[in-house]
């Protein structure tokens, strides 16, 4: 396999496709990668371990044989992780159907966006629209910066003249108090900072909504934010020709954050009565959008879901992996994870079988560990980008013996034989 000249980074939902691979040394992190991407590329290049059974190095076939032997008598496996590419997810679902497994993605946060979508709807936009069209950005929290390091560079700090001479963007930050993000903003942007205690964010969104909707609320009652700032923000929102609200669901406070997402969406709906406004719920990291998209198109329902007894049933609470594990309901844990490094939950009720990133380290060796190729690094793959619409192909940057998730799971499925 000849390495590609440019490549696409799989390590956050931005899927930056302007990374350049050093043709002389494919083990070096590609140029243009952010710190987060660099760490991951380098860490993956540094290891080259074989599969393991009970901590002992074995060949791939032996590892798959062992996994199949462990799984064959069991009835209630939980397949977790799911931070994989499309082909990997297809293979996971084939395995889940075979085993009657529960499947759940490691990131629960995107449920917040999904729940708000299912219970209210959404008005959203995509990266290139933001880049060329947005004259006002409301940046909620600091996840856009912390979790998506090149978001500003690639999407916001670009003077697009697509629709005429570029105008200075207006940016409102709704920051947790004490977390200053000003340094991350484009230098020339007009900036308004509404610092807010995280728990008060839904209250602030509500106040802004009521104000843009001309309801007789008293901005002085909104707590910490000065009424004049609120009024300025409302004026900017009304003046915007194309406003965009950006958030990262994982950073919204509290266990009912889907209400905050709905509140933002309601505000956007009101604004669209007169002008154009849209949401940009940044996501896509660790294949969260990918896993849910594949599950949704194949089965018609989302994650988490149970494939037991020849049915598919989705239930965000019952089949959430922490809940399943807490009840002691699962008799095996299969962790499939080729992108991220999230901790594998402790599990004692049966075997733990891990198809994981090659550089994963364990406190306690799982019963079986199969290092798998990371899409976009050791193997080609496809991921859904953070704005949900664009799916990109990620070429491999270097040759590798590691099997892809799809290959490894197909090997396992072949060994499991017909369903019991």
């Amino acid at each position: 396999m000849s390495p590609a000249r440019t490549t696409t980074c799989p390590f956050c939902g931005l899927l930056c496709d302007d990374l350049e691979v050093d043709p002389a040394d494919a083990k070096r992190a590609p140029r243009n990668a952010c710190a987060r991407g660099r760490d991951a590329y380098e860490s993956l290049a540094a290891v080259d371990g074989p599969p393991q059974v009970a901590g002992r190095a074995v060949g791939l076939d032996a590892a798959l044989d062992a996994a199949a032997a462990l799984l064959r008598p069991l009835r209630r496996p939980l397949i977790g992780g799911l931070d994989v590419d499309i082909a990997g997810m297809r293979a996971i679902l084939a395995l889940a159907r075979h085993l009657g497994a529960v499947v759940d993605h490691v990131s629960a946060a995107k449920q917040r966006n999904l729940r708000a979508l299912q219970e209210f709807g959404a008005i959203t936009t995509t990266f290139s629209e933001v880049r060329n069209r947005a004259d006002l950005l409301l940046l909620v929290g600091d996840g856009w910066h912390r979790r998506f390091p090149r978001f500003i560079e690639r999407i916001v700090a670009v003077d697009s003249d697509l629709f005429g001479p570029p105008s200075r963007r207006r940016i409102v930050t709704l920051n947790p108090i004490g977390r200053d993000t000003k340094a991350a903003l484009p230098q020339d942007a007009l900036h308004l900072a509404l610092d807010v205690v995280p728990e008060q964010l839904p209250v602030l969104i509500g106040m802004l909504t009521a104000m843009v909707d001309d309801r007789p609320v008293d901005p002085r009652r909104s707590g910490a934010v000065a009424p004049a700032l609120l009024e300025r923000c409302v004026a900017w929102m009304r003046e915007a020709r194309y406003g965009v609200v950006v958030w990262t669901a994982a950073d919204l406070e509290g266990s009912h954050a889907e209400l905050t997402v709905q509140a933002i969406t309601r505000c956007i709906r009101v604004l669209n009565g007169a002008t154009r406004f849209a949401a940009m719920p940044l996501a896509g990291t660790d294949g969260d959008l990918t896993a849910n998209a594949v599950q949704t198109w194949q089965s018609g329902v989302g994650l988490p879901a149970c494939y037991g007894d020849g049915r598919v049933v989705a239930d965000p609470e019952r089949f959430a992996s922490p809940a399943v594990l807490a009840r002691g309901e699962a008799d095996a844990l299969i962790w499939v994870s080729s992108l991220g490094q999230a901790a594998i939950p402790a599990f004692d009720a049966g075997p733990t079988i891990v198809f994981g990133r090659a550089d994963r380290v364990f406190d306690r060796s799982p019963d079986v560990f199969v290092p798998v190729a990371t899409p976009g690094v050791d193997a080609a793959g496809h991921l859904v980008r953070g704005d949900k619409v664009v799916t990109l192909r990620l070429p491999a940057v270097r040759a590798s013996d590691r099997p892809s998730v799809a290959t490894a799971l197909r090997g396992l499925l072949d060994r499991l034989g017909p369903p019991c």
């Binding site: 496709d17 020709r241 089965s299 329902v301 989705a314």
Partner: protein, 555 residues
């Protein structure tokens, strides 16, 4: 392997074989002539008393891509209520208003459909569409790439680009997205909505580019024709769903300047604004023009009463119509300086005046457009209703007394405003076969589909005749896809992978010298990332076969 269907009545309008009884043979995946006497037949199916038709083709059904998946995600309560349990052949899934890809393939095949075409693939979303189609089992697939709201084209037009350059861009798009045809949705309107323009009629200027939908349609119809793409420009007209939109629809026909044009889900575009409620049927007016315009083909987009969900690229109109949606939750998206989408659930009710009249308007179109070679059976699945209501729709077309019984149950004011009761036409079996097989194959350029001639693909459906056409069409006795028995009496017997149909017109690669910097400067992916190669698209479809259709260049 040589297979014989013995003593079957052949309904094959492409060969004017209306009812001859004979043996039909296919070898492996292809229909063959009767073998020599000494040649052994491997398998014979006794089909005496039965009817054979080519596999049915749906040329406009939303089966894959972002908006369909959004629709699935939007309505978990309906999916949960519509489980499709596993069988020894089929995987478990669900079939809510936006059914899963798996259920889509199973149900189409069980109903005798062997090819389905996704009519609204956004170029930037093409990969996902191919993945979803790739996970739709058994049937053949293909997709129409959406143009006409993409900033690259609108800029070309506003800058007075040459006809050649537009054709090159359209040709490049067909290649890059692995598409089968070009569709335009609310020409310029989706883009205009992003500039806060709330409606755009055919001769109204786009607020930023200053060009009109008429210009966009003319340019695209010309480019598609010049490239020799078999399927004419597939047009979703301006002002979908707006009372009085008949004028926009007729202006759109005019905009094609005599070049071939296909008007899709025409029902949603055949509304007058007469009467107390300012909403009336303009089906007769539209049908008259269609009858007189041999370059025009149409599909209907019949609505069916019940819960469904509308998925459309037309964000402008979906935003406008969202307030009528039930349950009251909806999605609108602006997409990548390329397109948009809107997902709005609808519950069509027979006792609702507007819905009842929409139902009647669709049937009026079916019955007033005379040539079954130019009108196709669609519900614009799922927008007007699910594709599995086709057998019911066929019965409405074939059985006047049944039609009148239903007419008697709908909102009386709507029934009174429609001339449906006075229309006596009943479709014949031959006409149904034409509009569901022969004609769509012809208009798509699928030379080896839609008929039962020697050399055609062995996509064959065998029906047991039944006095009730709904029963007959719902669960054919045998369905063969590429020669494999895939369904019997509504049950799936084998899960195969259909092929992907694309076109590969010739164009000047020089257009990439403009496109590459365009992507670099304005898009958030490179041109290189955007293009889907042949190997890649097969990978999307689990190594499905790619069938690229030839284009004979005109311009």
């Amino acid at each position: 392997m040589l297979t014989r269907l013995e003593g079957v009545r052949i309904i094959d309008p492409a060969h004017r074989a209306g009812g001859a009884v004979r043996d039909l043979y296919f070898r492996d995946r292809t229909i063959v002539a009767a073998p020599r006497d000494d040649e052994p037949v491997d398998r014979t199916w006794d089909c005496r008393g039965m009817i054979a038709m080519a596999g049915a083709i749906d040329l406009h059904t939303h089966i894959g891509g972002g908006k369909v998946n959004l629709a699935r995600a939007l309505l978990p309560e309906f999916a949960a209520a519509a489980p499709v349990p596993a069988t020894d052949r089929c995987a478990p899934c669900t079939a809510g208003p936006a059914p899963s890809a798996l259920a889509t393939g199973y149900r189409y095949a069980a109903m005798g459909y062997t090819a389905c075409f996704e009519p609204a693939m956004l170029p930037v979303n093409a990969r996902q569409a191919h993945f979803e189609m790739g996970d739709t089992p058994i049937v053949d697939k293909g997709a129409y790439a959406l143009l006409g709201n993409d900033d690259f084209l609108l800029r070309l037009l506003a800058g007075g680009a040459e006809r050649q350059e537009i054709a090159d861009y359209v040709g490049w798009t067909l290649h890059a997205t692995q598409a089968m045809a070009i569709k335009v949705v609310n020409a310029g309107g989706i883009s205009a909505f992003k500039f806060n323009q709330r409606s755009l009629d055919v001769d109204e200027a786009h607020v930023h580019y200053g060009i009109t939908p008429r210009r966009v349609i003319a340019a695209l119809a010309r480019a598609v024709h010049d490239l020799g793409v078999p399927h004419p420009l597939h047009v979703h007209c301006s002002n979908l769903g707006v009372p009085g939109n008949v004028d926009s629809t007729l202006a759109t026909i005019e905009a094609a300047e005599g070049l071939p044009i296909h008007l899709t889900h025409l029902q949603f575009h055949s509304y007058g604004s007469e009467g107390d409620r300012k909403f009336s049927s303009a089906a007769a007016r539209v049908a008259e023009v269609v009858n007189a315009s041999p370059h025009v083909t149409v599909d209907v987009g019949q609505i069916m009463f019940g819960q469904t969900v509308t998925c459309s690229g037309d964000s402008m109109m979906q935003h406008r119509n969202a307030r009528h949606g039930r349950p009251p939750k909806w999605i609108v998206m602006d997409i990548e300086c390329d397109a948009g989408c809107g997902v709005v659930p609808f519950r069509y009710r027979d006792r609702d005046f507007v819905n009842a009249l929409q139902w009647a308007i669709g049937l009026e179109l079916f019955l007033l457009v005379e040539d079954p070679w130019r009108i196709f059976l669609t519900t614009d699945h799922p927008n007007g209703g699910p594709f599995w209501s086709y057998p019911h729709l066929i019965k409405l077309l074939m059985d006047r007394s049944f039609r009148n019984d239903v007419l008697a149950r709908i909102h009386p004011d709507a029934a009174a405003l429609s001339n449906l009761r006075s229309i006596t036409r009943e479709y014949t079996l031959d006409e149904i076969a034409t509009m569901t097989r022969a004609a769509p194959a012809q208009i798509l350029g699928l030379t080896d589909r839609g008929h039962l001639g020697v050399g055609a693909a062995a996509d064959i459906v065998v029906y047991e005749p039944h006095p009730d056409p709904e029963v007959m069409f719902a669960a054919p006795r045998h369905v063969f896809k590429d020669g494999v028995l895939v369904a019997e009496r509504g049950e799936i017997r084998a899960v195969t992978r259909g092929s992907l149909h694309t076109v590969k017109p010739d164009f000047d690669r020089g257009i990439e010298r403009k496109l590459e910097p365009w992507f670099a400067r304005y898009q958030t992916q490179s041109m290189h990332s955007f293009v889907i190669g042949d190997d890649e698209v097969c990978e999307c479809g689990h190594s499905a076969r790619l069938i690229a259709h030839r284009c004979v260049r005109h311009g």
